[in-house]
Amino acid sequence: MNARVSLSVSDLQGWYGESKALHGMTFEVGAGEVVTLLGRNGAGKTTTLRAIMGLLRKKTGEIRFDGEDVAGRMPEYIARRGIAYCPEERGIFASLTVEENLFLPPVIAEGGMAVDDIYALFPNIAERRNSQGTKLSGGEQQMLAIARILRTGANLLLLDEPTEGLAPVIVQQIGAVIRKLKERGFTVVLVEQNFRFASKLADRHYVVEHGRVIDTLAAADVAGNRDRIQNYLKV
């Protein structure tokens, strides 16, 4: 593992109202790593990302980002510390154009990607910059949702199921994008159910069930343990 720890979550408990969704999530992400949270529907993966982002208010435990415990902080503070979030439903704004969507997240630090680089990475978005945000196809919307958090200078990206419901060719493109992000030094937490997709990208996999991490696999161990992993994910 990398020397510097970017994110470390320990004994995270979280609730939606009365019902408990997280039962002691504990995991760590090194700077520059791509790490996945794998697991079935309802395992608590999205809830974990929401908790990190400060969107889940009712929680206990520790969430350290670059050494600072941000568990009690508001989303706007956490975002400004350098975490960016791409939600599962993508969150493209219908009342904003593609370009407005792209430029919406404020730049919070230096070192974000230049707009030209982003357009080079996502040529479709450049072409349609003046369309209404939600007029894009599902794949384009997903690209836009990722693209807009790259300019801000955030170095930890939380991507929630970026491949969900997309055509295989688009999934491949998104895989290529994430690989490029890794090359550029971004740290990525990827929530996935699509293990085939995740296994080619990640340095490490955390298997989540019932709101806690039940198994950890390094990328090197994946090849020998396919059955074990399929067993975790099968419905």
């Binding site: 939600p87 969150g91 704004f93 904003l96 407005e100 430029f103 919406l104 404020p106």
Partner: protein
């Protein structure tokens, strides 16, 4: 001189100009209301009061030396007011958001409306105490006096200025919201505030600034209006209801739509003044009705109905306080003894308003629809009963019955129109429709305008019981109340009532079970109107008068306040609320204009601290107590069992 359809061009263009000016104010105000509603999900009823604050702010600045003699302050004229007052009103708005409005974001829409209604009553009430109904003069600034003769009409410079400046402000607002980065934040936060926060934007602060901005627009409109209309505490009260109608007509989702709708409606109002002056006060409300029939989402609306009935009931069905079979006899006995303990006329007032509140509770508490126009049913029934008894010589029973029938019919029509929209819109629509009835009553000859119908004969019950005898009248009113109370209780417990409850708790689920919920809502609304009519007609007979106050929106607000204080959806809450409110009105009657302030404060306090109402809180308290007793008992038996072992 050329004429058109017998109307001189001077008159036509003169009224069109006035219409355009009104339209500018409508546009500026509805813009603020729409932006605030979009972002904060708050129906800002206090907007009218904030507009009034703007006008008074200008007046204050002009009279600084008189207001604070000895400080050597200068008198600041119109241009200073234009610059300073909107900022000041905006700051007051920011403070109000911080202290009050912020607390209700997470709650049902209804509370936001109630809170702002209360704040409006407090602010307008305070100014009423200070300045009374009389308007204060505010002169047109020297630079804009006089005008230009255009040949076909005379155009005063000040009016031209208002139109140009108002339009500029509207267009600038449109530009900021639709074309700037700040506007993009605003639009995005309207759609998904949490995600915008997760991008690092301080959305709570943005909400405050948005509110301050919308309110500042109202303040600016107030300054601009000061030289045209009189500066009076009432100036905001009537305009806010019209503004709500404008927002309903325009629909949400388009800033330019709000501007256009405001201007258009002002012009239409002006034209109506030329061709059919009597209809000019109601034309906007009539247009609202037409829009609701043919294009329920509004002219520029994008939203499709998705909000549903809100469960605001605080009743615990198992509490003995909800047992009507127990309470009907208790209430009967208490009611029979009451006139020996308190002044019977006061008792009758309580009974009438308790029935009114029970009727209101049927739609607000049982179905969860925020109706805000029950004055229309209460008042129209009062008028009809008073008129038929006084002018047509109807016997008392028949007069009350005819009042009820009219209220029921109006209720059916209003319900049919209003259930096309949900949530806050439902409140705005019922409010505007009730205002339509109010304006009708001001103008119709048979209602005698400001005087109302007076000296209504109480008559004889069954032809021989003299109701001029106070005790006879009292027991008649008690009987009516008990019948109404029992009927409403029965409705709540019937299979029909169970369906209403399911609509309240989860309307989509009720729909998925195959209920056509709109029909049930309409029927409940109509029944509620019927009982409100019964209360209104009885009140007219008891007090021998039907007046405009019965139809004014404050009467609707009374119904809401009584239900809220007592406990929404509870059996006894409306009665408790009626006792509290009627007593309060009586006790504070000597305070004169302060009554409104006290009532407004009661609204605010209830929304902030007593959302469950007296009965709801009591039921909660008893439930927790019996629960802890049960646990303690269980623990004790557990110990005993262990001891036996």
């Amino acid at each position: 001189m050329m004429t058109l359809l017998g109307i001189s061009p001077q008159l036509l263009f003169g009224q069109l100009l006035i219409g355009l000016i009104n339209g500018v104010f409508y546009a500026m105000m509805s813009l603020g209301v729409a932006i605030i509603f979009g972002m904060l999900r708050i129906g800002n009823f206090v907007h009218g009061a904030q507009y009034m604050l703007g006008a008074f702010g200008a007046w204050y600045l002009l009279h600084l030396p008189d207001l604070f003699p000895g400080f050597g302050l200068p008198s600041l004229g119109y241009w200073w007011a234009l610059a300073l007052v909107p900022v000041a009103v905006g700051l007051i708005g920011a403070l109000m958001e911080r202290v009050f409005i912020r607390r209700v974001y997470e709650l049902e829409h209804a509370y936001g409306l109630l809170l702002t209604v209360g704040l409006a009553m407090v602010i307008e009430g305070l100014f009423n105490v200070g300045y009374g109904a009389a308007g204060q003069r505010y002169d047109i600034p020297a630079a804009l006096r006089g005008g230009v003769n255009l040949g076909f009409m005379f155009l005063p410079y000040y009016r031209l200025w208002v139109i140009v400046a108002g339009l500029f402000v509207c267009v600038a607002t449109w530009y900021i919201v639709e074309r700037t980065k700040l506007g993009a934040y605003l639009r995005a936060a309207t759609e998904n505030p949490n995600l915008v926060r997760a991008f690092g934007i301080n959305v709570p602060r943005m909400l405050m600034l948005t509110y301050a901005f919308g309110v500042g627009l109202a303040g600016l409109a107030g300054v601009m209006a000061a030289p045209i209309y009189q500066v009076s505490p009432q100036m905001g009260q009537s305009i806010i209801i019209t503004i709500f109608a404008v927002v309903v007509i325009g629909g949400m989702g388009s800033i330019s739509g709000a501007i256009f709708t405001g201007l258009m409606l002002g012009m239409i109002e002006g034209l109506t003044k030329v061709f059919w002056p009597q209809a000019s006060t109601t034309v906007i409300f009539v247009i609202m009705v037409l829009v609701l029939v043919f294009r329920p989402a509004g002219l520029f609306g994008k939203e499709t109905a998705s909000a549903h009935a809100a469960d605001m009931s605080t009743a615990r069905p198992n509490s003995f306080l909800e047992n009507g079979r127990l309470w009907l006899p208790i209430l009967s006995v208490v009611g029979m003894v009451l006139p020996f303990l308190i002044y019977p006329v006061f008792g009758m007032k309580i009974l009438c308003f308790a029935l009114f509140a029970c009727a209101y509770n049927l739609i607000f508490g049982y179905v969860g629809l925020l109706a805000f126009g029950h004055a229309a049913f209460f008042g129209s029934s009062a008028y009809v009963a008073a008129f038929t008894a006084a002018s047509w010589g109807f016997p008392t029973e028949l007069a009350i019955l005819s009042g009820m029938v009219v209220a029921t019919l109006i209720g059916a029509v209003f319900g049919w129109l209003a259930i096309r929209r949900q949530g806050l819109y439902f409140a705005m629509i019922t409010l505007a429709l009730a205002q339509l009835v109010y304006f009708y009553a001001i103008q119709a000859p048979w209602t005698h305008g400001e005087d109302g119908i007076q000296s209504v004969p109480r008559g004889y019950l069954f032809g021989f019981i003299d109701l001029d005898d106070t005790m006879n009248m009292y027991y008649f009113v008690l009987a009516i109340f008990l019948i109404g109370f029992a009927a409403i209780y029965r409705i709540g417990r019937s299979p029909f009532g169970q369906i209403l409850k399911s609509i309240r708790e989860n309307e989509p689920r009720a729909i998925s079970l195959g209920y056509s919920t709109d029909r049930f809502k309409l029927l409940a609304f109509t029944l509620s109107a019927m009982f409100a009519g019964l209360a209104g007609a009885t009140k007219a007979i008891v007090f021998q008068i039907a007046s405009l106050a019965d139809l004014y929106f404050t009467t609707s607000a009374d119904a809401l306040l009584m239900t809220l204080i007592g406990g929404v959806g509870t059996l006894l809450g409306p009665i408790v609320g009626a006792i509290v409110v009627v007593t309060m009105q009586k006790e504070f009657a000597t305070l004169g204009a302060w009554v409104v302030v006290v009532q407004g404060a009661a609204f605010v306090l209830c929304v902030l601290f007593l959302r469950k109402g007296v009965i709801g809180t009591l039921e909660d308290w008893m439930a927790t107590r019996s629960e802890s007793k049960r646990i303690a008992a269980g623990y004790a038996t557990g110990l005993a069992a262990k001891a036996v072992e």
